[in-house]
Symmetry: C2
């Protein structure tokens, strides 16, 4: 059966049938992009193939290629880390190349050219799940450099899986006088329901706005009307696949971008452009971990992290931030070994409070540090950043409980 | 300064001031129950105390004490595990005794007497964070016994911190011909905003209803109008302190109980009373753990669990269920050692799908078992229950991916 990339075919094998567009494959499998947007890989051996339709030629967009600097527009640097969004896309075959030059971006989403003078920079090209703390440092340095060199705004295209961690890291590492906007795409660009064009356009609108925050811009709902602007330290991916997966937790959003009009409305305080001086604290301590407490979980688990030389641990406790009583001696042992134990809640919403019940007060006596209303993942990233600055336990405690980048809100229990 | 339990006093110390009702204290601290409902403990040393108001005598409820069996009503057994709800409460001082006889319950919430013939049974008396898998077995046995002996419905009062784990455990261990209803209280009974009376009444309404499911009944919203009835395997505590903390995830609720009218409306399928034969599979394998993947988390973490002799592991991956590429060999090693590795998502909402990206397919090839749209915590409990029945890996895989107690919904990606 003769077919080439971009053709639509039907493959039957082992009782199952798949229809879709043939994608590039390096493994020898037949890779099909299905209508759902998902790819499926099928061993060709024994598969029955029916040809359905030839590759359609792509209509060239009207604006093609040339990036000409417009003096009336702000300069935005588009940093790529390997996410799908704003990569070079063949809309018909769905093949994605993640090299991301300015030309590529403007060719893919020509509307960006009307919003800003866009220049591209590739920091890394990895799958989001392979993101590591040392790449956060590279990313923070790149952003620092670009702003030093006069960028009026930064857009960082990032895979959605670990975007919340990277965005939080930059929020703790950088003080910025201009917008630094993380953006991603939940659906690959060739899907009818793809969110990448809208998200990229809205993110660029924020990058040229007055909102000099490190933030994340993603679809607000499953319709295509607005993107939400989230504080980098308050947003969490709350769905495996929906376009509106990103939600602010324990905080309102900073605001919204209307896709049709480009208008930005805000509902929270933000630092205005130029208010903050550019600064970089790039040192971090990556030897930190999250331990999730579950019923019956043995104290030896926490013990392992202490003995393995971790420098800081976040416990995702139950409810107000609890572990079973038999974990308390291990918390004490960690504290005595100068390893901070930070308590967050697996509830995600709400504030940790260990003053209400006995177990909590025992945990506090043993040295546990309450993460207030920080997300557990954000508490982990913050702990890495704080331990990059100091290993003095009282100082770590103070910094962990002090608001640095909107990650904590004020509260009085009384 | 002279004061006694139940009096309202003001304590000033170190620049802070607290007003509240004096609670019993065994530590020598002054313990105050504040208007917010929270307790605060203050070292009496150097504290300045002002007397505000004497203890108010409690109005005795009209219906007091006597449990007389009403032949027109169903028989409900109220099982206590140490939760606050339906314990014996001094409404004024807030002191809670968790011994829970039928008399105590009806004395506390006399309205229950009109709904069912209530009998109490104490299974354990612990803080919810000290719940262990072997107590799930005791609890399941107690429920089995009571239903064998003719109970028409069971209400289990449970601390909210680990209620989702216990409820899921019973859902996997028991087949029940009558309702088995978990209920808890987010606020202690003396708070003006306490949810315990409404939750207990609504839970009892469900216990006498036709809904023969293992379920959880808690406030639907922060107002006092309805309780939601959740499948035990689909509900998660999503807030540290709000009354409406319990939310169904990846599923609709079974239905609602209107507090004012007692009317039950349903919006999902349920097994009707008498449809299922009573059965108990009480054997579980507690040596299982959840490992949460975060950026930069080292593969040695997973390695530790394998080497420490755990029998099954749930990985809370990112997005569709991913870990970094360097974890894949450890997944393979676990599988080869007959240790099932189950993949759930830290997004909580949505379905795991490792067929879309390269890392995922590598994980599947290494033997990872997708938890479909199960909550990670429920996947852990289910894994314990499944491993109680078999350690045959292909069988474990099959059982983990088969719906047993509404924990998975059907889907087709195409």
């Amino acid at each position: 059966m003769d077919y080439k990339e971009g053709d639509r075919i039907r493959v039957e094998k082992g009782g199952a049938a798949y229809e879709g567009v043939v994608m590039p494959s390096v493994t020898g499998h037949i890779v099909l992009k299905m209508v759902s947007g998902y790819n499926v890989g099928i061993e060709p051996d024994g598969a029955q193939i029916t040809f359905l339709e030839q590759k359609k030629e792509i209509q060239k967009p009207e604006k093609q290629g040339k990036v000409t600097k417009n003096k009336g527009l702000k300069n935005v640097v588009f940093i790529s880390t390997g996410g799908t969004i704003a990569s070079k896309i063949d809309y018909r075959s769905g093949a994605v190349s993640s090299q991301c030059s300015a030309d590529d971006i403007v060719r893919t989403i020509p509307e960006l050219d009307d919003i800003a003078n866009i220049r591209g920079r590739v920091v890394t090209n990895i799958l989001s799940e392979n993101m590591k703390p040392h790449i956060w440092t590279e990313l923070a340095r790149a952003v620092y450099e670009e702003i030093s060199n006069g960028a009026d705004g930064i857009v960082i295209a990032h895979g959605t899986d670990t975007m919340m961690y990277s965005a939080a890291a930059l929020a703790f590492m950088l003080d910025t006088p201009v917008p630094v906007v993380f953006v991603g795409s939940q659906r690959s660009a060739d899907r009818p329901s793809s969110d990448n064009v809208m998200n990229a356009i809205c993110a660029t609108k924020v990058a040229v706005s007055d909102i000099a925050e490190i933030c994340t811009v993603m679809h607000e709902s499953s319709s295509d009307d607005r993107c939400a602007i989230h504080y980098a330290t308050r947003v969490r991916k709350m769905h495996t696949s929906r376009r509106d997966a990103f939600q602010s937790i324990n905080s309102r959003q900073i605001g919204f971008v209307d896709y049709a009009t480009g208008e930005i409305t805000t509902e929270s305080e933000y630092t205005a452009r130029g208010e903050t001086e550019l600064a970089l604290k790039e040192k971090i301590e990556p030897e930190c971990a999250i331990v999730k407490f579950t019923p019956g979980a043995k104290a030896e688990i926490l013990g392992h992290y202490i003995d393995a030389g971790y420098k800081g641990i976040v416990i995702e406790g139950t409810g107000l931030g609890h572990v079973s009583t038999d974990w308390v001696p291990e918390i004490k042992r960690a504290t005595e070994a100068n390893i901070p134990i930070v308590i967050a809640s697996q509830c995600l919403h709400g504030r940790v409070c260990d003053r209400v019940y006995d177990t909590g007060t025992d945990m506090l006596k043993a040295g546990a540090i309450e993460a207030e209303d920080m997300l557990p993942e954000v508490a982990l990233v913050k702990l890495m950043c704080v331990l990059g600055q100091t290993s003095d336990l009282p100082e770590v405690r103070k910094l962990m409980q002090e608001k640095r980048a909107n990650e904590i809100s004020d509260c009085s229990l009384e």
